[in-house]
């Protein structure tokens, strides 16, 4: 087997495979929650599993915690097969979505629970709990009951209670979902600090891409019980491997077209029906002319101006009409009608704008982008086999989640008419 081979080879487990899911499948009745997932998580990593609700990310976490037994596949922790171990014998601890603090115990007793269960000496419990209370800065609240403390404090107690057992991996199941936005951001930073301080592996499950992007070392994007892509936040944002990832992580504009020709090793010319022909795009895949592709361009990659931009062989420019403007404080969102497409454009607010007069409704504008800022997805890519039958417009409709609203609007809404 994979693991034993590695043991023989290196004498100890590779850091790369500290936690490993191997071909894990789990079904509930007719619903396949986790479908043949293979995933490796490194030691000490802040790893996020990101996906819309119902994608199977929580099930994957519960399989690692031991609350669910996979139908197929194995789970390894530090080289040991833990698939059959009950949850109380696994060196992983979990922070639950609604914290699951014991309502009849005080904060102190909640944190001490894990040590009391294993009958550690009283002295040790005292000092360990004290340490944890200091870590979460809640020494003053130690005698309060869970219902007497705030949501953020509950969350911290839940983290302390899970950490006191010195788990090899801390599992966090949407721990911030119950908090309001401001508190969420603060708690996220605190979690990150705690991660740096204790240095153990964190596996963080969330549907909020902002949370995942800001703290994770690596992210696995899950959809429909499968893992779509694993990578650093930048990799996932800048180079999504599937149209689902491109659409789920941030906003994007999708264009459906085909290859005209390869210009050289780096660039290709595309024909986007209903938009324009001869669009230049970065491409490292040797695709034949006529091959169907998606072109994805993030809203912030566009530039919008009332004057025609200077000509440059690597700049694409198109003329359109502004149909909608939304002021969002840090930036303004424009929807620009270009032939049959509505393109979503974000423009950050800088002091020195090229045009001093702001762009308004019905203004004729130029929309332009650099060839390197768009990325091309092969429409018949084997990696995306699950999406082959699904045009990107459909992705949002299959799951219960609400995809980026703009995603559906920006794609070929007019073509459907």
């Amino acid at each position: 087997m994979y693991i034993s081979f590695k043991i023989l080879e290196e004498g100890k487990i590779s850091v790369e495979d500290f936690v490993r899911f191997e071909n894990v499948t789990k079904t509930f009745g007719k619903i396949r929650a986790v479908d043949n997932v293979t995933l490796s998580i490194k030691k000490g990593e802040f790893f996020s599993i990101l996906g819309p609700s119902g994608c199977g990310k929580t099930t994957l976490l519960r399989i690692l915690a031991g609350f669910e037994r996979p139908d197929k596949g194995r789970v390894f922790l530090d080289g040991e097969d833990i698939t059959e171990k009950p949850p109380n014998r696994r060196k992983v601890n979990m922070v639950f979505q609604n914290y699951a603090l014991f309502p009849h115990l005080t904060v102190w007793e909640n944190i001490a629970f894990g040590l009391k269960v294993v009958h550690r000496p009283k002295r040790e419990i005292e000092s360990e709990v004290k340490k944890m209370l200091r870590l979460i800065q809640m020494e003053d609240c130690k005698d309060k009951k869970p219902h007497q403390i705030s949501g953020g404090q509950k969350q911290r107690v839940a983290v302390a209670r899970a950490l006191i057992n010195k788990p090899q991996v801390l599992l966090l199941d949407e721990p911030l979902a119950a908090l309001d936005l401001k508190l969420r951001q603060r708690m996220l930073m605190e979690l990150d600090l705690i991660h740096d301080e204790v240095g153990i592996t964190f596996i963080y499950v969330t549907h909020d891409q902002g949370e995942a992007m800001s703290v994770s070392d690596r992210i696995a994007v899950m959809n429909e019980a499968r893992i779509e892509q694993v990578g650093t936040p930048a990799e996932i944002y800048e180079a999504p491997k599937s149209s689902f990832v491109a659409a789920f992580i941030g906003d994007t504009n999708f264009f459906e077209g085909k290859m005209i020709k390869l210009l050289d090793n780096e660039y290709s010319l595309l024909d986007i029906e209903g938009l324009a022909s001869g669009i230049i795009c970065y491409n490292d895949k040797p695709l034949a002319p006529g091959h169907p592709v998606y072109l994805s361009i993030r809203p912030e990659k566009f530039r919008i101006s009332r004057h025609e931009p200077e000509s440059d062989p690597l700049i694409n420019k198109l003329q359109g009409i502004v149909e909608d403007v939304i002021y969002l404080g840090s930036h303004t969102k424009y929807w620009v009608r270009v032939n049959e497409y509505r393109i979503e454009v974000n423009r950050p607010h800088n002091k020195f704008l090229l045009d001093h007069r702001p762009v308004l409704w019905n203004d004729p504008v130029w929309v332009s982008w650099h060839a390197d800022d768009g990325f091309m997805l092969d429409r018949f890519n084997v990696v995306d086999e699950s999406l082959m039958t699904l045009p990107p417009e459909e992705i949002g409709r299959i799951g219960p989640f609400n995809p980026k609203a703009s995603f559906r609007k920006t794609s070929k809404e007019s073509k459907e008419k």
Binding site: G66, F67, N88, N93, M94, P103, V117, P146
Partner: protein, 292 residues
């Protein structure tokens, strides 16, 4: 008129009928009973004139203390057995799928469609010397053919457990159903065994349900009359039987009243104790009802 006084007036109007009902048919008769306990009896079974403490003598009847003791321990044992059976049942009912829960609840309610008295008579024929249970037990060589199942304290205990078990299961189930079973997962995750989790997490969190179950079983048991009368023998009489005897056979109402008053206090004492305990735990566990 400010809204708070209006709402309090409305609340008063709504509760008024039941309030009056309780005063007329519960509070006043109870007070009358306490008063009669201090009246002399007259030879014709009525209540005499004047006041007396003589009814207190009833405690000197030969077997008062053994009957009192039997009443207390039989009620206590019944309550304990009911709790022992109801805890796992309530736990299980809260964990099965909602469909099954409906079925189980229905099965729990079904016996109440038959009259209480009829069900006890059914037990009488079941436990009868010629009855099925005895024959099976003899066939299995578990009992001596000469011994009796009916008219023993054991029979009374058994029928009391049978009668009051649903009253223990229902409140425990009601609390268990509100219990957040994710706490179980949390405890297991932190290293606790299933048994440890049951006793240290589940039981303390459904404490209110347990207290209610204790009340619902213990109080009717203390006042039990029909069950010991029908399936019990001379050696399994309880306080309730003595009161009936004083009323119907001896026709001594004041002594019956005195015993009744004594029983009322015996019942009220655990009730008040429970209310105090509940009020305390209510403070502690109010989060259970409100939720986070």
């Amino acid at each position: 008129m400010n809204p708070s006084s209006r709402s309090s007036r409305n609340a008063w109007i709504v509760t008024f009928p039941s309030f009056v009902w309780l005063i007329i048919f519960f509070l006043i008769p109870t007070v009358i009973m306490f008063l009669i306990a201090f009246k002399p009896s007259d030879p014709y079974g009525g209540v005499g004139v004047g006041w007396t403490l003589a009814n207190f003598r009833v405690v000197r009847m030969a077997n008062f203390f053994s009957i009192l003791w039997r009443t207390v321990w039989m009620s206590g044992v019944t309550t304990a057995i009911c709790l022992f059976l109801a805890l796992p049942t309530g736990y299980y009912m809260a964990r099965v799928s909602p469909r099954w829960r409906q079925v189980l609840l229905f099965l729990l309610i079904v016996p109440f469609w038959t009259s209480f008295l009829v069900r006890i008579f059914a037990w009488k024929s079941l436990l009868h010397p010629e009855g099925v249970i005895k024959k099976i037990l003899i066939w299995l060589h578990l009992i001596d053919p000469q011994s009796s199942l009916l008219y023993t304290s054991g029979a009374v205990l058994m029928v009391m457990v049978y009668s009051y078990l649903p009253f223990a299961i229902l409140p425990i189930y009601a609390s268990a159903e509100k219990f957040d079973f994710q706490l179980h997962e949390a405890a297991r995750d932190l290293g606790a065994s299933s048994l440890y989790t049951f006793f240290k997490i589940f039981i303390p969190n459904i404490r209110r349900g347990i207290w209610t179950a204790v009340l619902m079983v213990l109080i009717p048991c203390l006042g039990a009359y029909v069950i010991p009368d029908l399936v019990g023998g001379p050696n399994s009489q309880m306080l309730g039987n003595k009161i009936a005897q004083r009323t119907f056979v001896d026709r001594n109402l004041p002594e019956a009243s005195w015993l009744s008053a004594f029983l009322t206090i015996l019942v009220l004492a655990p009730m008040i104790a429970t209310f105090i305990l509940q009020a305390r735990s209510k403070e502690k566990y109010s989060v259970l009802k409100e939720g986070p």
